[in-house]
Symmetry: C2
Subunit: 341 residues, 2 copies
DNA sequence: TTTGACACTCGCAGGGGGCGAGTGCTAACA
DNA sequence: TGTTAGCACTCGCCCCCTGCGAGTGTCAAA
């Protein structure tokens, strides 16, 4: 059975009041809201039905009602007013862009910080990658007599650097030659395969060992790196009253530990939708079933990453959705301006 | 008044028991320890004196005693057996070294992870810097027609990269020339002054605007970066029973937010000692007065950084001190092998 | 269908009492 | 003078009880 107009209005008031005050909402409070024009007894009948239908929960008999996951879901899908960001908030997000000087990784980090400062929720994000990133460019730089710095640019905008110790000094011409050879050999190679590349060019024969070692260093470097995942403001989650009891925090701590696997689940999820609100139990990852995630995809030239916020199910969905959407939009625009691929 | 032999022995048993069991220690438990050979009444007299002297505290009248900050201090200075690291733990710390391929920043991160996995405490660390880091080397790499990557190596081992968008394409020879000019101009310049460097070379006149912009990008990049501070395993702090109540966690959360200022305090502290155990109120930073910090300096060629762990005052000082000492030693050795400064 | 009335449920805060761990003190003893 | 047994005392903790109040469900009347 669908919710009639009055039940919808009730659900909306309940969600908004509960989100703001973190206390169960009772029939008397609802009756005191002017626009409903109906007494508490009537409301109690409605609430009982809505509870049967699964939109509301009662923490205990003599408490008011709070929204269930399903209730939040209905609110997000049908009742929520899409709040416009304030000018200041929009500016905060755009500024994140400006300070990052065209570096996508920096840009994502700054955007997450901005999201956290606007919403006060923990923010998360991932750099774009179709399947997995591959190498776009390799450069060797000689930083000392016997010390090379390998700078690797990935096609998701990440830059990874690794040092390498030489057994004998090289002259600049040799460095350039090896650098070019590595660049040629590793271009377009996915990070996982990088370690197994080999170079057979005759001219490189004298440097065989060094090149093999360098490829090893680079391969390990690009795989190990998890700079493509961003998580900002984890401590904000502790501010929420629902996590005041220490044992409630545990699933979240586990989420933070296992972030690699969680982020992979999220990435799969985001491959199917542009913006997604996952409420409590709807979440695909078990460590997140007590929280809500709002994530949006950003994309350009056929690649996508995502960015979002993580908070209690009792979340300011309207504000958070607006902020996340706008963040993703800013990211998409910036990314379109970068010559990435 | 100094503690006599028996009082010292009592303090030692109290600290060790309390560290392990997190429960106040009473006179009966102490009397049951074989080596003391004295009954509980005698012990009660001793405990009363030690409490007067400030080495012990009583959470409430009918509880046992727990060590005060001063008690821990005496334990650390005079009673603690300097535990040897197990072979496995030492290996964990050395392995952190091996996987970092000579990159000091990576090395510090990995060492902190190892420290956290050994001690189960939050670990912290800072890259070496006398006063503040300065620029060691600058390289421009052309990553696309109109896109440069500036790679900046700092003298504390950090590598910072920034992208820069060109208004018109450059040929390789131009990139090399500008790269060399920037390198020459910025070498040895401290990161804070980098932005105000200018180049007056005649040959560079056609590129004045671009060079000014690049210096700006680099200057902002190296200042903003806080990759020289490392913090690993913050969530472990929540495992400690003393932080089970949410409000006890608050000072720590504030510490994490304000880490830049806290780390500066710590750095000043570490400039005066090689290894330092700061217990509760002894801590210079107010956000840390409920916790203990064990930090050790690592150094080579006149520069030093530091690494340590952060936990409750009820801490396994013996194990933690050994682990931190060894970590610093490994770092010093690795750093000596790097051609840094 | 709505409403007022009313009995009912249940969490919560506060008070009282028993329990037990641990103390301080005292008097006796080596 | 140091050590010990004994004992009264303190005080946090747990459990139970109670009263309160918020909120509910239901029913009969409008």
């Amino acid at each position: 059975m669908e919710l009639d107009r009055r039940k919808q209005r009730l659900l909306q008031v309940i969600v908004e009041s509960y989100v703001q005050r973190a206390e169960p909402v009772g029939s008397h409070f609802l009756a005191s809201q002017p626009e409903l024009g109906v007494r508490s007894a009537t409301i109690r009948n409605e609430l009982a039905e809505m509870t049967d239908l699964g939109y509301l929960r009662q923490p205990h008999t003599s408490a008011g009602r709070i929204p269930s996951d399903q209730g939040y879901r209905f609110y997000v899908d049908h009742l929520m007013a899409w709040e416009r960001l304030s000018a200041g908030e929009a500016r905060t997000l755009r500024t994140a862009n400006r300070v990052s000087e065209g570096d996508l990784e920096q840009l994502l980090v700054q955007t997450c910080r901005a999201l956290t400062s606007i919403t006060r929720y923990t923010s998360v994000g991932a750099l774009p990658a179709n399947e997995e990133p591959s190498i776009r460019q390799v450069h060797l730089v000689q930083v000392a007599d016997r010390r090379l710095l390998a700078v690797v640019v990935l096609d998701n905008g990440q830059v990874v650097h690794r040092f390498y110790e030489l057994t004998r000094p090289l002259v600049p011409r040799e460095v350039t030659m090896i650098s070019n050879a590595l660049d040629q050999a590793l271009r377009e190679v996915s990070v996982k395969r990088a370690s197994s590349v080999s170079i057979t060019d005759d001219e490189m024969n004298p440097y065989q060992d060094m090149v093999r070692a360098l490829i090893g260093v680079i391969g390990r470097g690009v795989v190990q790196e998890d700079g493509d995942l961003v998580l900002e403001g984890a401590s904000h989650i502790l501010e929420q009253p629902e996590f005041r009891e220490a044992n409630k925090v545990e699933p979240l701590v586990r989420f933070l530990e296992a972030r690699r696997s969680a982020f992979e689940t999220l990435r799969r999820m985001m491959s199917e939708s542009h913006i997604r609100v996952s409420i409590g139990q709807e979440n695909p990852h078990e460590a997140m079933q007590e929280v809500s995630l709002i994530a949006a995809r950003y994309e350009a030239a056929g690649r996508f990453g995502w960015v979002g916020v993580l908070g209690p199910t009792r979340m300011h969905y309207d504000q958070a959705v607006s902020a996340v959407r706008y963040a993703a939009q800013v990211l998409s625009e910036s990314m379109a301006r970068l010559p990435l691929g």
